[in-house]
Subunit: 349 residues, 2 copies
Amino acid sequence: MTHSPLRPPTMADVARLAGVSHQTVSRVLGDHPNVRDETRARVQRAIEEMGYRRNSSARALATRRTRTLGVVASNTTLYGPASTLFALEEAARAEGYLVSTVSVRKLTVETLSEALDHLSDGGVEGVIAIAPQRSAVEALAELRRPFPVVAVGTGSASTVPSANVDQYLGARLATGHLLAAGHRTVWHLAGPEDWQEAADRVAGWRDTLEEAGVEPPMPLRGDWSPLSGYRAGQELAGWVGRGLTAVFVANDQMALGVLRALREAGVRTPQDVAVVGYDDIPESEFFAPPLTTVRQDFSAVGQRSIALLLDLIEGRTPSGPTRIAIEPQLVVRASTYPYASPPGTAPPG
Amino acid sequence: MTHSPLRPPTMADVARLAGVSHQTVSRVLGDHPNVRDETRARVQRAIEEMGYRRNSSARALATRRTRTLGVVASNTTLYGPASTLFALEEAARAEGYLVSTVSVRKLTVETLSEALDHLSDGGVEGVIAIAPQRSAVEALAELRRPFPVVAVGTGSASTVPSANVDQYLGARLATGHLLAAGHRTVWHLAGPEDWQEAADRVAGWRDTLEEAGVEPPMPLRGDWSPLSGYRAGQELAGWVGRGLTAVFVANDQMALGVLRALREAGVRTPQDVAVVGYDDIPESEFFAPPLTTVRQDFSAVGQRSIALLLDLIEGRTPSGPTRIAIEPQLVVRASTYPYASPPGTAPPG
DNA sequence: GAGGTCATTGTGAGCGCTAACAATTCCTGC
DNA sequence: GCAGGAATTGTTAGCGCTCACAATGACCTC
């Protein structure tokens, strides 16, 4: 049944076998209505027989459409970016697009620019940039590029079209939860200075405290890693007994480090110090103790940003706003409330 | 300086502006040696001025090379697949290839086949399949496909070219470590039945015990999730005092669940029960207690598999074996040895 | 200064497809 | 049995690039 051609069969080969013109083959493949059933069947049989597949390059050249989207991401082994990436690809594929990814170790103006060049050379029709660093977002607005770009993870400060979880709101939920539980004040271990999401979380935390008439303590800084959380946790442990009873940590991994440091310092969680994280990574339910945290709907971010990008590509007026905000959700566990439910009974992450 | 053409400029446009033929422009772009310096400079200026970029589709059509690789992956939010994906993309980009990814929720014959079709329609020259389930690997060998495929994460049972961490060896390291520490026997919480890597780890564990003259206990089964580890851990806790002093868990996430279950049952780690995990995810150093585990060099897997795939694509005789095995490494922490080093002092993950 | 060589540049023909238009066939109704 | 129109099919010209080869010219040798 299969030939063993040195070259894969072309449309002309199929046409010859079916006894029609190549254009008729193209019509069959394109589901054009005006093809006689008998002809269509004959063509389809020929296609089957030769194992024919359209050459995507030729098609792209003739239509000027590659049906490929690009994604630039960094830190893709972290839960957040990895989840976003997954959601993006799934959403794009549902629309018939292929996704090409460039993952960089560190997002800078140079790496971002190189990544866009690489994707551009690959013929992408548009790009999603998962660009949480402020510097990168700004660079994005400047760079000359022949296709639309949608930013993701840029927090509130985006000059380009974007889709984001509302980090400010997430921080308010976390901080408000701790205040409502009776804590007089809430400390904060923040993410890196340059990350807009970190800044948004700081702002949400600060505003919530100030609205409650509390002077916010100086926030600590980490780099998202458990190790930086551990170091900050050692420092925080020194403040226990001097007004520190609750900490809002800007992500779950750092919270894990904080928990370990507190434990090693003989500080009990949540009895002595309550801890809230951010992200709801799959592990956080099993930390010691299980972690109260803020869940982000990465899947929604992926779908909304792809929809927005496609609107931009196809030249449609976007069906919604070009700066999309998605609501996060608080997940309460034992790190703030000792009688929280056992594993497997809470809604799934 | 920039035109604002409805169409992006073509090679012919650049040629006209530079006063040369399109072929000379092509030569400049292709770094062909036989171009006069003066001409080259003039062409380059024209390219610059027009912001010209080669059309990748036209290029691909003429050269029959898309310089695009495909990757099929599942469970990409897990540390292992995400790390592999990252390494693959980085290695491919270093060779000038673009990577298109398809991430599926569940790897079955159908989803794998659809994924390959989608990538094929995207014109990929070869595919890396991260296919840890046995059924998927077998399907891979059957499917008709017009490009080479390299499997990754298939453990020892691969009929197609592959690159893998030696899971059998990793399990031997873990089990041997526990025996050497004086444990009489080692229990095992295995991964899902259908995963070859899980089977390889079971085999390594079993063989090590048998060589030491110990009858292996019945292994438990989990699904890689912390929750399944937690449930297994509850069961394991019931065997403490009846010969259970050491557990080898097939991944770190399940180990996290086991640790929680043991803790809740009043079982101390490592004094009552020692625990070893697998993967060395970034969090495991901060578990309670920090987890002894087996580290896999995903970066090496990525590089080796890309090198192999490119050999296959270019029709070269592969420079090495077509079934590549990479050595894992044991990382000892407090879950097996209570005086292990504090965070930040061990070699980085 | 004829002939040869090399470096440099240009020309023409595809690559495999789709879009636009032209040609043919098949029905209608009268 | 034939005009008129719709349905169906074919023809031609690109899309923008690279490859193979032809043409040009500079330079050298004897």
